[in-house]
Symmetry: C2
Subunit: 323 residues, 2 copies
């Protein structure tokens, strides 16, 4: 089978590509070729099947058509202008996240081969105030342009699927934790920073109080969601094609206690409290917990605990070693 990953150079896109390279198959079918598309050239190490990197973005005329010209059997659409940038650059966010997504869907419709199309949405489709636990039938009232654009993508995905143009599954990813790489200034960065940096022997700043609760999934779980979404029986999903993925809901205090259990007091001592009222206010408007019953009943699997999330980071990113 032919696989296309749009956004293949991003963190999740790369982990997905490497997982496909390692497995050599998807849903029991051998992978014949992989295309990685992104705005920079994506790579794939030790790829046992032919891999082609394509550079471009979906909002460029003709790019979507080029990507689907060889009729990929499975398309992962992970590409997006992220939340902060979409909020700063209104036109760019709509151009890439809405027009780009629609250009892809139209190109697939015109190709006519009805592939499985997996679209990564986000819990940013929800906007405060919400119930303590957000259920599968809660309405989408985003409070960012990014969330709006993802919610529009979800609606288009469901309608194109209903019309039989492709077989789409939208998955709303939890916040990815532990996000590898350097600390960044994203308001959500501290959820990962306070785990990743201490484990690497560095100090991390905690800008919010420890009773802040949030919804997490490891990069490994996210790749698992994508693979499951690529192979699940569409008929079992029915017309409601957008699913909140299961995650782990923990407070920051519970994150820290999990870190203590896994790595000890010495590592936890590297977390420095430095309250930041701006970040506290942003985070106060974020979801804390979900009831993802539908996705769970369809076989999507979350990490078992925040300790497991930390252990996955140590295994996958640190070669098993704690500083």
């Amino acid at each position: 089978m032919k696989v296309l990953i749009i956004g293949g150079a991003g963190m999740i896109g790369q982990k997905l590509a490497q997982r496909l390279a390692k497995d050599g198959h998807l849903g029991g079918k051998p992978i014949d070729s992989l295309v990685l598309s992104d705005v920079v050239e994506a790579r794939c190490r030790d790829c046992p099947f032919p891999m082609v990197a394509k550079v471009g973005d979906l909002s460029q005329p003709g790019h979507a058509e080029e990507l689907v010209a060889d009729r990929p059997d499975v398309i992962f659409h992970l590409a997006a202008i992220v939340s902060g940038e979409a909020e700063q650059e209104f036109d760019k966010g709509y151009r890439v996240n809405v027009d780009g997504t629609r250009a892809l869907f139209e190109a697939v419709r015109k190709a006519g081969h009805k592939p499985r199309l997996v679209f990564t949405s986000s819990i940013a489709v929800f906007g405060a105030p919400f119930p303590e636990v957000i259920g599968d039938e809660f309405f989408t009232t985003p409070l960012t342009s990014y969330g709006t654009q993802k919610a529009i993508g979800e609606l288009l995905l469901a309608d194109y699927t209903r019309k039989g143009f492709f077989d789409g599954i939208g998955i709303r990813l939890p916040t990815i934790c532990v996000r590898p790489g350097k600390p960044n200034k994203a308001a959500s960065g501290f959820f990962s920073n306070i785990i990743r940096e201490p484990l690497a022997g560095e100090e991390a700043v905690l800008p919010v109080s420890e009773d802040v609760r949030h919804w997490h999934a490891s990069p490994r779980a996210a790749v698992g969601f994508l693979l499951h979404a690529a192979t699940i029986d569409g008929a079992a999903v029915g017309p409601r094609r957008n699913l909140t993925m299961p995650g782990v809901s923990v407070t920051v205090a519970e994150q820290i206690e999990a870190l203590r259990k896994v790595a000890g007091d010495k590592v936890v001592a590297r977390i420095r409290r430095e309250p930041d009222p701006t970040i506290m206010q942003i985070v106060a408007g974020w979801p804390r917990n979900f009831d993802a019953s539908r996705a769970i009943s369809l076989g999507f699997k979350a990490d078992s605990s925040f300790e497991e999330i930390i252990r996955i980071h140590i295994e996958d990113e640190l070669g098993g070693k704690i500083a």
Copy 2:
């Protein structure tokens, strides 16, 4: 103040225009001018202020910019490809209902004067299965392209409002009953046909069973919703800008009993039962009842009963006379 009605030649657009002409003001402010835009030339009888009709549709390049060039204070956006046509003509539906709506929102953003913008959405944003009574926080999973396009319009309206580009209010209208004019083949047509035709001395066909329950508002109530939406305090609405309008939930049996009370057995006897399995199946997927608490708390007023809906039809369309 300057008022623009897009879709001004339609049934609701015309009733709104005539109401504005009769009142001469909107929200206590005198109306200085009215523009009626539609794909055919709209009229306004006995208009006490200057009225200009413009012919075109929002998906034509430059039309939206032309409409907002003189910076209308209130814009009513009622124009749409209707449900059946949007389902048959996929590209046309998206072009007018999504691209046209977005072109309008962009033109308003660029004009920079931040008008009140009232957008008519629809209960078609909801898709079965639903609870017996649909609450204000129920999710939008449309089962038609029309419903999808309206849901996208709602998301855009909320985001453009949040960004301060205009001050939008989206209102989800109930099924309009009694719809004046000739019987049409819309699947929902019978809800009006079984009232309007017997009152006019004609036979009407009832294609579903009498226990079918549905959600109605009179044309007069719909105009009331539009006027209230045009003048309500946006701050009181907050960021959730799309509101399910209140309506009257009745079964077909209750519709018929209301007709009997208002017009007697002779009129009711003009309803002929002729079950149509296709229409029965379509209608089975429609909403039956809503809890429109938010709109009610914001001052939107439904008809008081289905009898009132019938009396409004007799007053407004039949000059008070029953055949």
